[in-house]
């Protein structure tokens, strides 16, 4: 037995017409809407609070952590390299070729990955330069030292000089037992001007050999990667904070717009 659809339709309408909501329904609905509205500013506050925390994290990443690293003695391999008090770096003349002028300044590197050294190019022209070569403690050298040296400059961007060391440097660089020792030093700047390739060719009456070093501008060698990560972390935190603030403001605006009217 199947009920007529029309009969069901008619009966439902007729019967349900007698049913009405309570008079208080509207008041209860308004109360519920008010409570939902009140919850909306909480979202904004939560977003702003989270953003503030992220900004604080960014500030920590950018400022406090780097200082801690810089203050760690082991973080700077060049701490043992001495520097004279009268270092005076003179800006190269505009007439000096760019590739040669780029050598001006302070370069640091480790000979054979062991001996920290610093090359300070104080003055440089197209054909000559005045440099300070300093070395710290590493490898077989236990006493740091430095020398101010007049050097030649070749057009391809290479500083060079020759010397026959004596004393401590001779005993550490030249092989024991050698009676004659001559060293030819060259420092060539790389095509991208970011590094200097150092080379010292040692000639003795016992044997000949070569040491090498790759130097970078002082302060850029070890700290650059840390700084890079630091800034990425900081930028990400600031970006996240900005998104949260924008999202919070958007939610807040929606909430305030809705709160603006009245249901009743």
């Amino acid at each position: 037995m199947t009920m007529s659809e029309q009969h069901i339709r008619r009966s439902l309408r007729t019967e349900l017409e007698t049913i009405h909501p309570d008079d208080g329904l509207r008041d209860r609905l308004d109360a519920r809407l008010r409570s939902r509205r009140a919850a909306r500013p909480t979202n904004l506050i939560l977003a702003l609070a989270t953003a503030a925390v992220l900004v604080a994290v960014a500030a920590l990443a950018v400022s406090i952590k780097p200082r801690a690293i810089e203050q760690t003695p082991t973080a700077d391999p060049y701490a043992s390299v001495p520097s004279p008090s009268d270092v005076n770096i003179v800006r190269p003349s505009p007439s000096v070729p760019h590739r040669i002028a780029a050598l001006s300044g302070v370069w640091e590197g480790l000979w054979d990955g062991q001996l920290p050294s610093r090359l300070t190019v104080e003055r440089i022209s197209g054909s000559s330069a005045q440099v300070i070569y300093a070395y710290g403690v590493g490898g077989q050298i236990q006493r740091p030292g430095w020398r101010r040296i007049p050097a030649q400059v070749s057009p391809n961007g290479t500083i060079s000089w020759d010397n026959s060391p004596q004393g401590a440097m001779a005993s550490s660089i030249c092989l024991p037992g050698a009676t004659r020792c001559h060293i030819h030093w060259t420092f060539s700047i790389s095509p991208n001007l970011a590094t200097v390739q150092g080379r010292r060719a040692v000639t003795t009456d016992v044997s000949n050999y070569i040491n090498q070093v790759t130097m970078r501008r002082a302060g850029s060698a070890s700290s650059a990667p840390v700084a890079s990560h630091r800034w990425i972390l900081g930028l990400l935190a600031i970006l996240a904070a900005a998104i949260l603030v924008v999202g919070g403001v958007f939610i807040g605006r929606r909430g305030s717009r809705n709160v603006g009217g009245s249901v009743t």
């Binding site: 037995m1 009920m3 339709r9 007729t14 009405h20 909501p21 609905l29 939902r36 809705n258 009217g261």
Partner: protein, 171 residues
């Protein structure tokens, strides 16, 4: 249409809910009542449906918010009935007592509908009280048109049994 003025400016959420309440609250309450068979539950469902419509107003593309309200009522009622699944099953078994005390003084058809399983109840409410097509009903319930036809047919057979005193068909 929940718009204002000649330029069809869209109403704010509060204005839309206000207009919707004035024009459709009684009908919405009856739909909730038909689905739930309980005045208290129907009122709860209607309130929550209005609140959700208010919250979703920015996302409702249709100028008329009633379809959204209606679908919300149906879904809320079905959820509420699922939570009370044991009671409902018990009520279906004891068909004569199925209907809430609220329905005791009501006439037969609404009372009989309240004894149907939730999905059949929804089909009857949407097809015969809301006058929706089978495809519109299927969309709201998330089932196929064939499913709507089958559920509606079962519901009609069961209603005939209850109201006409015939034998009960299985679901």
């Amino acid at each position: 249409m929940l718009t204002r003025g000649r330029h069809e400016e869209r109403l704010t959420a509060d204005e839309a809910i206000d207009a919707l309440y004035r024009t459709r609250s009684s009908h919405a309450f009856r739909l909730a009542y038909l689905m739930s068979g309980d005045r208290t539950l129907a009122e709860e469902i209607v309130q929550e449906a209005f609140v959700r419509t208010w919250q979703s107003w920015e996302r409702i593309r249709d100028a008329d918010a009633y379809p959204y309200l209606r679908a919300t009522i149906i879904n809320l009622a079905r959820s509420a009935l699922r939570r009370k699944a044991l009671e409902i099953r018990h009520a279906v078994r004891r068909r004569e007592d199925v209907v809430n005390e609220n329905l005791a003084d009501r006439v037969d058809t609404v009372r009989a509908v309240a004894s149907l399983p939730p999905r059949q109840r929804a089909c009857v409410a949407l097809r015969f009280y809301e006058d929706l097509s089978e495809s519109q009903t299927a969309e709201i319930l998330g089932i196929t048109v064939g499913g709507v036809k089958a559920q509606t047919a079962k519901a009609l057979r069961r209603l005939a049994t209850i109201l006409g005193g015939g034998d009960d068909d299985d679901e």
